[in-house]
């Protein structure tokens, strides 16, 4: 008997068994379903109440955040909690060349695995004790999604003061300690929330696929390019999601550009 015939036979058997020994959906199963549905509605209702009145120390967050401002220079790009696991993957794949793995590669692979599952697992066995691979896979998925969600939830955005404390060590490593203009630029860089998206000598977090800037100066783009890029990133690099920093003013932009050009990768 072929494997498919065997599966067909089992399903016919199941249908006969259910017909003979099963119970009607109404009222037995429907009773369970109704109770559970009521529980779901109550939970949603309670969540809304807890959120509205800010119980448990505002555990569910504020009623409404500040209005969206595309011109802002400091922001926290944070998705809804159920995307935290993907969001945190972005931090693991910090290097620009590998960001695509986290953003597109892994989710696509996960989706393909899920879609292919019933065609890969062709055994009829359903008891967990005899499906060790399935059990291990399930445990691993739950643990890794749990850990990534937790890490994503507790990930802190770089705090300006902390980043600023790293400036002297940057100056030393990159060798611009004597360059006053570059030092001022580094301080600006630290407090302007650049490190919310960019990394610099291991400080900051990689978001939006923003590149690491430790060796930006080694590309030899020149101070003028850096200034015009800061003023309007998408004018220079079409499609760039980086916000415009024109309102920092020409002096500040020049300092930032000098700092970037002085960053040759460190030693």
């Amino acid at each position: 008997m072929s494997a498919l015939d065997d599966r067909r036979r089992r399903f016919t058997q199941y249908k006969e068994d259910v017909k003979k020994r099963g119970k009607p959906f109404y009222p037995y199963a429907m009773f369970h379903d109704t109770v559970m549905s009521l529980v779901v509605v109550c939970v949603i209702f309670l969540l809304a109440v807890v959120w509205r009145y800010g119980w448990f120390g505002d555990a569910l967050g504020p009623l409404n955040g500040p209005k969206a401002d595309p011109g802002t220079t400091s922001f926290v790009p944070r998705p809804d909690w159920y995307f935290y696991f993907l969001f945190y993957l972005l931090r693991i794949f910090k290097w620009p060349e590998s960001v695509i793995l986290a953003t597109v590669g892994i989710p696509t692979i996960l989706l393909i695995i899920l879609l292919a599952l019933p065609f890969v697992d062709l055994r009829t066995e359903r008891r967990l004790g005899r499906r060790p691979v399935a059990v291990v896979a399930a445990v691993l998925v739950v643990i890794s999604m749990g850990v990534l969600t937790y890490k994503g939830a507790t990930a802190k955005e770089a705090i300006a003061a902390e980043v600023k404390a790293a400036v002297p060590s940057w100056a030393k490593k990159e060798g611009f300690a004597g360059n006053k203009e570059a030092l001022a630029g580094a301080n600006l860089f630290a407090v302007s929330a650049c490190t919310n998206c960019h990394t610099y000598l291991g400080t900051g977090s990689s978001n939006l696929g923003a590149p690491d800037l430790s060796a930006e100066g080694a590309k030899g783009k020149g101070i003028q390019f850096q200034i015009s890029h800061l003023k309007c990133p998408s004018c220079v690099n079409s499609g760039s999601p980086m916000p415009a920093f024109a309102d920092l003013g020409q002096d500040n932009l020049k300092k930032l550009a000098t700092f970037l050009e002085a960053s040759k990768g460190g030693k």
Binding site: R7, F11, Q13, Y14, K15, D17, V18, R21, G22, P24, F25, Y26, Y28, M30, D33, V35, M36, S37, V39, V40, V41, I44, L47, A48, V49, W51, L63, N64, G65, A68, D69, F75, V76, P77, D80, Y82, F87, I100, T103, V104, L111, L115, L117, P118, F119, D121, R123, T124, E125, R126, R127, R131, A134, A138, V142, L208, G209, S234, G239, P241
Partner: protein, 266 residues
């Protein structure tokens, strides 16, 4: 006297049943509902089997609250944020409707994952239910996309910048990425069109897709039947249960249904 009463009762019953009979004759819907309600399910379905209908309930909560929110929400960058404030603080019970929509989304997504976990652990994706598993995976992806598009609508800082990230992530996909990103943005930059696009996707296209997929999903559940738990004697796949031992004199053997709590005895 008694005969007269039963005559009257029969007449009454006929009058009460008339609309149903009328409907049944023309649509067959009554028979369909009757089949749905009184179809047999395995005797040992349990609380784990309620996760699917619980997910459906969460979806219905989203549908109802979403329709109400759409009556007050203004999908344009200048007034979106203010209209959310208005709903939360001024509209009667607006906070409740918005709160239930906001948190119902999370509950919906958690329940989708739990339902999927249950189906995986019960091995319920196996023959002949492969197609329903695939529809379920599509529902999960579509549901997550619904969450993603809804997240922008309050138009606060977090929402805006999270959407910048999300669109940019779409943009990094090979080949279709840049096209997808500009389709979502409605242009080269995030602007007024972006919000309108997300609003339209969030309340027309994706809910429509979800409704269609849910209908297919339920149709297949009803057609193929509910999978019994893997430990069940009625499990399709665990093989034929061993023949029961001959009854011993003087002992009443428990009926199978009474035995489902422990290990099946037959």
């Amino acid at each position: 006297m008694a005969r007269k009463k039963s005559d009257r009762r029969r007449q009454l019953e006929r009058a009460a049943m008339y609309p149903l009979d009328w409907l049944e004759e023309r649509s067959g819907l009554v028979g369909g509902v009757r089949y749905f309600l009184f179809r047999k399910v395995p005797g040992d379905t349990n609380w784990f089997h309620t996760l699917g209908s619980a997910t459906l309930t969460a979806f219905l909560v989203q549908l109802v609250t979403g329709v109400i929110l759409a009556m007050y929400y203004k999908p344009d960058p200048k007034s979106a944020h203010a209209s959310i404030d208005h709903i939360t603080h001024e509209v009667t019970l607006g906070w409740l409707v918005r709160g239930m929509h906001k948190w119902g989304a999370s509950v919906f997504i958690i329940l989708m994952f739990m339902h999927m976990g249950r189906v995986f652990l019960f091995g319920a994706y196996k023959y002949p239910r492969e197609l329903n598993w695939i529809i379920g995976v599509l529902l999960l992806a579509t549901g997550l996309f619904e969450g993603l598009t809804g997240y922008l609508l309050p138009f606060d800082q977090t929402a805006y910048w999270a959407t910048v990230v999300a669109i940019n992530i779409n943009g990094t996909a090979p080949f279709v990425g840049p096209f997808l990103a500009s389709l979502l943005r409605g242009g080269a930059e995030i602007g007024p069109d972006t919000l309108a696009r997300f609003y339209s996707l969030h309340m027309l296209l994706i809910p429509g897709a979800l409704l269609g997929l849910i209908t297919l999903h339920l149709y297949l559940v009803i057609r193929l039947g509910v999978t019994s738990p893997p430990w069940s004697s009625e499990a399709a796949g665990s093989g034929r249960p061993p023949e029961p031992p001959p009854a011993q004199a003087g002992l009443v053997r428990p009926r199978p249904r009474a035995a489902v709590k422990g290990r099946p005895t037959e």
